[in-house]
């Protein structure tokens, strides 16, 4: 890689070893997926859900933009000089193919319910919550492994570079001097279950509820958002409508906040149009980088932590707020009760998704 930019690389991915029977899945993206599955008791929670519901009643809905494409990029450096053939150890299905990360998770846990990858660029792992919700409401499943995994690859780095959207510094969302994204990689997972009756009595106070989802398309341009954030506004309004909430009832907004000039301007206008200047908000991409197809999942987890810990996370690296955007942008961590939060994920191709999460117990 010969680009002058700041990259959010996850340590230790190269050292991860996949189980022997899943060796065909070996690539950076699935190693990162396994690293994520092994964190914070997540795999244990999935196994408990299998015992409770059965493997055929749990779906897998994961987001990724590029999956294991790095494996193909590397294989193209080892083509047969005479025939042009790819090396014989290259396996497309279980590495490069967009579905491979969901297929890997499915095989890792032995799940046999519906499984799919959502790949709509940077909204992918927010939109998985919507697919899982519908399938649960339709009665096909009782629980779902949702989330997103995206790993570093040259297609993305040189692709965003070709659009002039990559910053040479650590990205500065909503800063007056922002000049582009920092690409990162991440794996984030959540286990979704149907909300029981009387959640206050039947769930722990720390449980997080998915209260609303809104989805829309910009119908405007492949790589520029609608300048007034019209699609973004529709997504936030639809999420509020499903949750039955007024804007003033949202305590914090985790912005998409990529730190490109156009995204933050459009999102800032859309947020101000619905919420006015008083709702605390920040983009956490200054801390994580833009993890693309994993970003919605990562930021859903950050929202869950905000609810559980009563913490509004500051947006890192932002020094001087863009004066054109009239928002309560959180520049220092704030500790306060948090009952309901909204997370925005807007993607390349004009795909938008907003999620609203809330606490079960009183904050």
């Amino acid at each position: 890689m010969d680009l002058a930019t700041f990259i959010g690389e996850v340590e230790g991915v190269d050292a991860v070893q996949l189980p022997v029977h899943l060796a065909d899945f070996d690539c950076r993206n699935n190693r990162l997926a396994l690293l994520g599955l092994m964190q914070d008791g997540f795999a244990e929670a999935v196994r408990a859900a299998i015992a409770k519901y059965g493997a055929q009643r749990i779906g897998v809905f994961l987001g990724t933009s590029t999956s294991g494409i790095l494996q193909t990029e590397l294989a193209y450096r080892r083509r047969n000089p005479v025939t042009g053939a790819l090396p014989t150890d290259f396996i497309y299905r279980t590495t490069h193919n967009t579905f491979s990360v969901a297929d890997f998770a499915r095989h890792y846990f032995g799940l046999t319910g519906p499984a799919v990858v959502v790949s709509s660029a940077c909204s992918s792992s927010a939109k998985v919550f919507s697919s899982a919700r519908r399938m649960m409401a339709a009665g096909l499943i009782d629980a779902a492994v949702v989330g997103g995994v995206d790993s570093l690859c040259l297609t993305t780095l040189y692709g965003f570079n070709s659009l002039g959207l990559i910053s040479e510094q650590a990205c500065r969302p909503f800063d007056a001097q922002r000049n582009g994204i920092s690409i990162g990689e991440a794996a984030a997972f959540a286990l979704l279950e149907r909300t029981p009756e009387h959640p206050q009595e039947n769930l722990s106070a720390d449980a997080v509820l998915l209260l609303g989802i809104g989805e829309s398309s910009d119908a405007y341009h492949m790589s520029s958002p609608h300048p007034d954030g019209l699609g973004a506004r529709m997504a936030m309004q639809d999420a509020l409508k499903m949750a039955g909430l007024k804007p003033a009832e949202i305590d914090y907004i985790n912005l998409h906040g990529t730190a490109t000039q156009s995204n933050d301007a459009a999102e800032g206008k859309a947020v101000a149009a619905i919420f006015g200047p008083a709702t605390p908000c920040s983009s956490t991409k200054g801390a994580t980088g833009h993890t693309l197809g994993a970003a919605g999942g990562v930021e859903a987890v950050i929202c869950a932590l905000a609810l559980q810990h009563g913490l509004l996370p500051a947006g890192l690296n932002t020094r001087q707020l863009d004066p054109a955007l009239d928002l309560d942008y959180v520049l220092d961590n704030r500790e306060q009760p948090v009952a309901r939060v909204l997370s925005n994920s807007f993607g390349f191709g004009g795909t938008n998704c907003s999620l609203i999460f809330g606490r079960v117990g009183k904050p």
């Binding site: 055929q56 009643r57 933009s65 494409i69 193909t72 990029e73 193209y76 083509r79 042009g84 053939a85 790819l86 290259f90 396996i91 497309y92 299905r93 193919n97 967009t98 579905f99 969901a102 297929d103 046999t112 519906p114 499984a115 799919v116 990858v117 959502v118 790949s119 709509s120 660029a121 992918s124 939109k127 697919s131 919700r133 519908r134 399938m135 409401a137 339709a138 009665g139 096909l140 040259l154 297609t155 040189y158 692709g159 965003f160 570079n161 070709s162 659009l163 829309s216 398309s217 119908a219 405007y220 341009h221 492949m222 790589s223 019209l230 993607g347 390349f348 191709g349 004009g350 795909t351």
Partner: protein, 268 residues
């Protein structure tokens, strides 16, 4: 499998394009066995609905989804801008991926913005919304060989749970060598279905779907069966064949290893 929910919807419009299959009306006699199937390379029409700049940049998957999707929606007499959409493809644009990987393996890695636009899995969805003006939700899916079944389940769950019409666009395009040897998809093939929650005057058939562990149905015609096997989107052909035959039928469509879709088809 027990405790199995069923999902039901009405098919209001069908779009079809593939090798030797030029549209739904002319393909019904072929699928029904009244006319011989004569495969020839898929002919993709230019995407007339796109603005000139986007039309120049659009690849095969954009042309295929626009052709099949608009055919299905026109047959249903609906406005594309009003419909939520489900795009399901078994992989990205193979030609474009090949060109990018060749460049990234060379000394000049500066891929073009157009190459990058066309590299994302939601290229077709993005161009679709620009072409039709649809600001509705769009689910963009991949499930490798299970992509038709995954798309059908997603579209049905939208219809049933959100009580809305939806359009499914299940499309795949060809892979060039050397990728073809690793993923042998020979040609472009797409099926589009407009699905509705209530019966209307334009409804063709009601479909009721549940998960099953039964084996997927094969097609009697050897060349059509070869097509069904070769291109994942063509795993939906047994459903279209039943509608073409104008008979109430049960078919089993391929989906995941060990899990298939049982579809009961009742003509309207």
């Amino acid at each position: 499998m027990t405790l199995n929910a069923t999902l039901s919807a009405y098919v209001e419009g069908i779009g079809l394009l593939g090798p030797g299959l030029t549209d739904w009306p002319s393909s019904q006699a072929v699928l029904g066995g009244q006319q011989p199937y004569q495969p020839h390379k898929t002919i993709l029409p230019p995407p007339a609905l796109l603005p000139a700049a986007e039309r120049r940049r659009s690849g095969a998957i954009v042309k295929l989804t626009l052709a099949t999707g608009l055919e299905a929606i026109a047959a249903a007499g609906l406005d594309a801008a009003s419909l939520p959409s489900v795009f399901s493809a078994s992989g990205g644009d193979g030609e474009n991926c090949h060109a990018i990987c060749e460049m990234l393996a060379s000394d000049d890695r500066q891929i073009s913005p157009t190459r990058f636009h066309n590299s994302v899995h939601n290229t077709a969805s993005g161009y679709w919304s620009i072409a039709t003006g649809a600001m509705t939700t769009s689910s963009v899916l991949c499930a490798f060989d299970a992509s038709f079944g995954a798309g059908l389940l997603e579209a049905l769950s939208q219809v049933v749970v959100d009580n809305t019409r939806a359009v499914l666009l299940a499309c795949d395009t060809a892979y060039p060598e050397p990728l073809y040897s690793a993923r042998p998809i020979p040609d472009a093939f797409g099926i589009a279905l407009v699905l509705a929650p209530q019966r209307s005057a334009q409804a063709l058939a009601q479909i009721t779907v549940n998960l099953t562990d039964a084996s997927a149905d094969r097609l009697d015609d050897a060349a059509l069966e070869a097509l069904r096997i070769a291109i994942p989107a063509a795993r939906g052909l047994p459903l279209l064949r039943a509608i073409a035959l104008r008979e109430d039928q049960h078919v089993v469509l391929d989906y995941l290893d060990g899990t298939r879709l049982a579809v009961a088809i009742t003509l309207c």
